[in-house]
Symmetry: C2
Subunit: 552 residues, 2 copies
Amino acid sequence: MLKDNWKELSLKARKIYEDSLHETLKLFPFDEETLKEFQKLPSAIGTSVTDFGAPASSPIEEYKRVLPNKTAEITETDPYDLVQLIKKGKYSCMEVLNAYFHAAIIASKLTNCVYEFLPQESLKVAKYLDDNFDELKDKLPLFGLPFSIKEMIPFVNRSVTHGSLCYLDRVVDYNADIVEILLKSGANAFVRTTNPQSLMMLECESYTHGRTVNPFNSTLTCGGSSGGEGALNGIGGSAIGLGSDIGGSIRCPSAFNGIYGLRLTVGRLPTGDYMSCQMGSEAILSVTGPLTRSLDLLELFTKTIIDSKPWTIDPTLASIEWKPEPKDKEFKIGILSHDGVVAPHPPVKRALNLVKEKLMELDNVEVFEFTPYDHARAQKIITSLYFEDGGADTKNTLLDTGEPMCEQTKWALGNENVKPLTFPEQWKLNIEKQKYRKEYLKYWNQFEADAIIAPVFPGPAAKHRTAKYWGYTSQWNLLDYPVLVFPVTKVDLDLDHPDSEYKPLNDIDEFTYKQYDSAKSFENAPVCLGAVGLRNTEEKLITIGKILRDIN
Amino acid sequence: MLKDNWKELSLKARKIYEDSLHETLKLFPFDEETLKEFQKLPSAIGTSVTDFGAPASSPIEEYKRVLPNKTAEITETDPYDLVQLIKKGKYSCMEVLNAYFHAAIIASKLTNCVYEFLPQESLKVAKYLDDNFDELKDKLPLFGLPFSIKEMIPFVNRSVTHGSLCYLDRVVDYNADIVEILLKSGANAFVRTTNPQSLMMLECESYTHGRTVNPFNSTLTCGGSSGGEGALNGIGGSAIGLGSDIGGSIRCPSAFNGIYGLRLTVGRLPTGDYMSCQMGSEAILSVTGPLTRSLDLLELFTKTIIDSKPWTIDPTLASIEWKPEPKDKEFKIGILSHDGVVAPHPPVKRALNLVKEKLMELDNVEVFEFTPYDHARAQKIITSLYFEDGGADTKNTLLDTGEPMCEQTKWALGNENVKPLTFPEQWKLNIEKQKYRKEYLKYWNQFEADAIIAPVFPGPAAKHRTAKYWGYTSQWNLLDYPVLVFPVTKVDLDLDHPDSEYKPLNDIDEFTYKQYDSAKSFENAPVCLGAVGLRNTEEKLITIGKILRDIN
C-alpha cells in the first residue's frame, strides 16, 4: 500500500489515463475533422479528480453527432451481428478495433467512463487475428470482438486499484482467468473502465478518476460499481464489457444505461482472482458477468466462457454445462411490483405494467403477481455480512494517503448494521442467511415460477449521490439468484408524473420518494427491469429476455 | 444448553439407549436361545459412560457365532441384492427390519456402536411398505432398505447432541432433508449411531455413550467421527449408513472397518441442516455420504438422492445430475505412496502395491506414481480454519455441565494452528486456501489423472486414543475432492512386519511410526485405500471402485 499524499497519487492516476489516451490517438488517429470536433466536446473529465468537468447535458447526443459515419457503421451494428460480419470478412479486426477506440475515446471525454486504454495490447491481438483469419475465424467464437473490462479485474502489467489510490502501484503479472479465456476465444480487451472508491456504491465516483456521468442525462449517475462499463456500453463505445456484482454492481449500471446485464449464479464464471477490499471474505460472494447492448452477444459471450469448462482451472466453480432453454415451452412468470420496503418510481411502475401486458398477450406464458417474502429481513442480513470487520479494511485504504472518503462510501459504511463482528456473531448471521435462503426457495417453489420480473432500482438512473437503496438488487445477491437486466422504455415526460398522494412507509422510502420530484429531472433516462430466476437458470432468463425483446 | 451436572446427564443419555433397546426387544423379540446367548455376550457397554466395559477381543467372531442363521441369511446378503430380493417378494420389509434389528442389537452390545434404536418409527414404515407392496415396490428405488444414521443428523422427535451432553434436551421437530428424501425413496431409518464428543476426532469416544470399539479387534478404534456407522456397517449390522465428514469422519470409519465409504464434493448432497459445534462457520464445510459393505448399494443410494434433485429444496447445492461413468474407457490412475509428512504403515504400503499391481494388469488403465504437492501446507491451512474462534464454542459445551474434555478433543484443540482469529486473519487464510486449491488443480491437470489411489490413514485402524494424524483425509477436505474408500486386504501377521530401519521425518511421523510396534497389535484389522478424484467426479470413482472390486 502506498503512503504518498493522495493528491500526488491522483495526479499519477490521471497521467495513466492521459498517457494511454495519447498512445491510442497515436496508434489509432482520428481524421482531422473528427479530431477538431473531439477537442471541442464538453468534457466530464475535469482538471483534477475533484473537478467533475462540465459535461454536456445529454452526452449521447454529442457522441452521435461527432462519431464519424464510418465508425458508427461498425459500432452501431448489433455487436453480435458484428462478430458474424468480421468472420465473413466484411470488416477486419483492426478496422473494428479502430472504430471502437474512436467511439470509446469520444465516450470517455463525454462521460469519464474509461480508466485507461490498452492500445498496444489490443493492436497486437487484432493484428494476430487478421494475420490468421482463415485458420482462426471459425475456431474462435468471439473472433475479433473488442471488449472492455472493469478496472478491478486483473490485466497483465497494469495496476489494479479498485478505486483506491493506495493501490496505484499494485501492478499484476497475470490476466484474470476469465480474461485469458476470452482472449483465447478471439475476443480483444481494448479498454479498462472506471469503478468507484471501495466498489461498494451504486454510483461511480473515485479519486482515481473523478465521476462518471450517465450518457443519457449527465445530472444522473451511470450507476456502479461497474459504472464505466454501464456508461461506455450504454453510449455504444464498447461491444460488451465485464463487470462484477456483490450488491447490484452489474445490474444498476446496466439498468441506468438502458442495456442488458447478467448477474450470474456464484460458481458459473471465474471471479476468484478479481481484486477488492475485504479480499478473502466469503460470507457474501461477488460474481462477474457481462453488460452489453446485444442480448445475443450476451448469450454467446457467456456460453463461450462456460463451454471452455472454466471449472478445470478455477476450483471455486461448479461443473454446470451451458444448456440453452427452448423458447417454445410454457413459462410461468411473476411480477414483483413492490418489495414491501421502497416503492418504485412512476417510470418503473409503468415499465412493470408494460411488460406485464406484453406477457399476458402470449399463449405460452402465465403471469401472476409475486408477493415478496420479507425482503426487509434480507437487507438486514446482507448489510450485516458485507463488512465483517466493520469496514476497517476499507477505511485502512484511505488512512496513509489521506484520500477523502466519498459520500457514498460513507453511506455504505454508515449503515446501522455495519459493525465489527465476532465469529459467533458471523456464524449466527450465516445461519440466518441459510435459513432465509431455504425459506425463500420453499416459498418460490409454491408458485412453480420460471422467473420473476422485478425492478432493478426504485427509479431510473439516480441523481448523483442519491443511489442509496440497494434492496432491489442485493436481495438477489443474498439469495444468489441470477438476474438478467433488460431495457423496457425510457422516462416519458407526459406519462411519468410524480405521485403526489403517496405516503412513504419508512425513512428510506421517503428519501427515495422525494428524489422523484419531476419527470423532467430524469429526462431521457432509460428504464430497465430484471428477470430473476432460481440458481443456475441463466439460460432460461436469456430465453425469457429474447421472448420479451421479440414481442417489441 | 443444559446446565445439569454431566454425570446425571450421562445417566439420562444411557437411559435413552436402554429404553430404546428395551422397546426394540419387545417389538422385535429374539428367540429364547438367541436371547440367552445375547445375554452372555461380552459387552463394550460399561456400567457407566466412563466405563468402557469388557469387549471381546474380536467382536465380529462373537457376532457371527451368535447371529441366528435366518437372520444372517438376510443381513449377510449383499445389501444391494437384498433390496432386489425384497422387491421380488422373497423377504418382506418387516422380516428384513427384524433381522437388521437383531443384528444391530448384537453388534451394539459387542462394540457400543448404537446411540439409540428407532423401533416404533421403523416398524410403521416397514408395515406401510409391506401393505403397499404392489403399488410401491417398483416406484421406490430403495424399497424396504434399512439404514442407520449418525446421531448428529436431525431425526424428528429425537434429541441431537453430536456427542455433547449439554444438548441432550435439544429435541428437533423435523427430519434432515436427506432423511426425508431417503424415506420417500422407500428406505427405513432404524437406528441412530454413536459419534464422539465435539465430532472433531477420528475415534469414537463421548460421555453420551462411552467408547465404540473396532469389531475386528477391540483394542483398536472404530474410527470417527462417524464411528458408530463404521463399526455397525463393518460388522454387518446395517445395510448402509449416513455419516458426515469435515476432516476424515466418513473415510476413517470406513477404512478402519473394511467397508466402502464416500466423501462427496460439497454441494452434491444436502447437509445444511446437520448439527455440530461452530454451526454457521463456512470456511471449511462438512459433507455427508454413505458407509456400506456394498459398492452397488452405495451407488444406488447416492444416485437416488441426487435423482431427487435435492437442490430444489436445499439452496446450498449445485444442480449437477448423476451421470454414470462407463467402465470401458481409458483411465489414468496415480498412486500416492507417501504424503511427504507421515509414512504409511507396512500393511498400507502393501495394500498400495497390491492395488498398483492389479491396475497394471489392465489394458485400459495407465498407472503412474503421483508425487504429492505440498500436503504439509494444506494441513497448516485447514487446522487454522477449523476453529475460527480458537475452539471457544466447543469448550463452551463443557463449561456448565462440567463434562470432561476427551483426550482426542484436547488433541484437536491443542493443535499449534488453533487460535482465535480476527477477520483479516481469516480472510488471509481463505486466500491461502483458494490459492492452494488453484495450484493443486493446475498440478493435477498436468497428469491428466482420472483418480489417485491414496492411503486413508497412515495405518490400519489405530489403537485407542492414537489416531492423531489427519493428513491423509483432511487434505481432500481442504481441496474439496471426493474420495471413495474401498477395502483391499487385512493385516497379515507374516507379511506386515514393522520397518525397523525407518528414520522418521518429524514428530508426528515419529509418533505414528512408533504406534506400529507389531503386526500382532493390529491382528485382523482391515486395510482400505481411497480413490481420490477432482470435484464432482463421484461417478468416475465408483466405476474405478467397481473395476478394482471385479479384478479380485
